[in-house]
Amino acid sequence: MPPILEVKNLRKEFGGLMAVFDVSFDVQPGEIVAIIGPNGAGKTTIFNLLSGVLPPTRGDIRFDGQSLIGLKPHVITGLGLARTFQSVQLFGNMTVMENVMVGCHQQATYGLIDAAFRLPHARREEHHIRERALAQLAHVGLESHAEEPALSLPFGRQRLLEIARALATVPHLLLLDEAGSGLNHSEKAELEQLIRVIRAGGVTVLLVEHDIPFVMSLADHIIVLDYGQKIAEGTPDQVQADERVIAAYLGQEA
């Protein structure tokens, strides 16, 4: 099977500082892949490059065989690449339900005029969106909070809501940026379970993670970054045994 995501010689400079330096890796469909590395290793920058928030200085990103370079973030989302954020970015002026409905944005087509005059076709699609959103909420176990303000949820639930919103875009590949940070033990276990369910549903998952034990038990494949460069790649066992990784990351942690 061809890889769902191919990253080739990706580079990002911030005014002379190399945040990402010629990184290449592939992600196979159906895998759970994790990118790990110490703080400032360029993990989140890679996510921002993949999702189109930042333009790369050079290099190529191919998703399902199509280059993502120069595409706007919402177009990339439309192609089936969804993401969450390290610092949860919910829409605070909306309910839980509406947050997920925003994720369903591209599942509907009706425009300004249809909406303004509540044309039948808009109402039909709206109904459809509502059902989909409710289904996604059920997926992450938030359906009973549907009409509450998004920010009234406890932090762990907010993470889940953000994942539900990302899933609502019907992704093939889901990017989770430090989804586990700030969660307690049981919440992490819940999250791990959810990620497995998502993968079982046919969605490839790429995570950026800080919490090594969490990643080791979850990921099929791990990429290790340090100072913007890829220093190792392989299965959890291979990575754990890698000298450079221990030196750069695990050693430092200890």
């Binding site: 999702s51 189109g52 928030v53 706007k72 973030p73 919402h74 989302t77 439309g78 969804a82 993401r83 954020f85 970015q89 919910l90 829409f91 605070g92 002026n93 909306m94 309910t95 509406e98 409905m101 925003v102 994720g103 944005h105 591209q106 509907a108 009706y110 425009g111 300004l112 909406a115 303004a116 005059f117 509540r118 808009a122 699609e125 709206e126 109904h127 969106i129 509502r130 549907a146 009409e147 303000p149 920010l151 009234s152 919103r165 990302a166 609502a168 875009t169």
Partner: protein
Amino acid sequence: MKALWARRNLVNVIAFTVVLAALGAVDIFRPFGLSFSALTGRVVTLDTMIRIGILTIVVVGLNLLMGYAGQVSLGQAGFYALGAYFSGILSTLATRHTILPGITGLWWWPWLMIVVSMILTGGFAYLVGKPILRLKGNYLAMATLGLGVIIHILAGQFPDITGGYDGLTGVPRLSIGSFTLWPMQRYYFLVWGAAIAVIVISLSLVDSRIGRALRAVHTSEVAAEASGVDAEQYKVQALVLSAIFASLAGSLYAHFQGAVSPSPFSFRASVELVVMAAVGGLASTWGAPFGVGLIYVVRDLLKSQLERLLNVRSGEYELIVYGIILVSIMIFMPEGLTASSVQFMQGRRRRHGNIEPQRVQSNGTVEDLGQ
């Protein structure tokens, strides 16, 4: 759930319409010799009420742009001016220079020109919106401010077209066939009909895919785009729509006033529109008529009461007190007067569309403006 909200909107709209229609009917039928202004203790006249209706249309649009999409405009009076001038010019100049003789005198010509004005203003907003909406927060506010000031200055030039500083005169009254929408009592129904239509459109939009996209852009553009929302497109759409509303209001203004001059479209007017939106409560469609109404009522009250209380010519005192009231409202009820009073009356019950307004605003706007 959805049906319930829709029903609540419907009930509100009907209640609002009935109250306004009843008020208007009083002035036409004058039961027991009561006029509209007598009902309000001569504080609000029908003339004021019509102006409130006209500005409500502008503020509803501004609210979509500012309150929902989070894009501050300090030049909304510019779009309002464009509507008034396009309508004024197109409905008088063609007649004056006998372009298209025979047609321009027909009753539907001014109506057609109102639509043409809306298209022209909307098109203008689209052209300037693309580049300008790349800016954020204070910078966007200032670019729109500049735009508004330029339109205001240019409106005073070109006396052959705009009438210069003295303005255009002879803008015709509107009529349907031979039924003239004048005197004021009839125009009142047209203006408030349009205002309610605009409110209904806004309510529908806010609750739709488009409204959610706008609100999402307000809170976090990055997250909105990651959810598949084309932020740029929706910001432009919001601007164009608010400009079209402003243009409609401007046209209604021109036909109400019968004359158009630059003075009502100054920078101060743009600021006042923002104040009205803020007083009514940003991100609240219903806030618009109440925000506009309150500002008018407060000012008229100040005019009549200050003179009585202080026994002085009130001009300056009125402005001083107006400024102080404005500052006080912003300090003590930053989420808008109507929202605050309703909250007060209803305890801490949460309302749809404006959930925890304080948090909404500090979340959305701080990020946008504070960087």
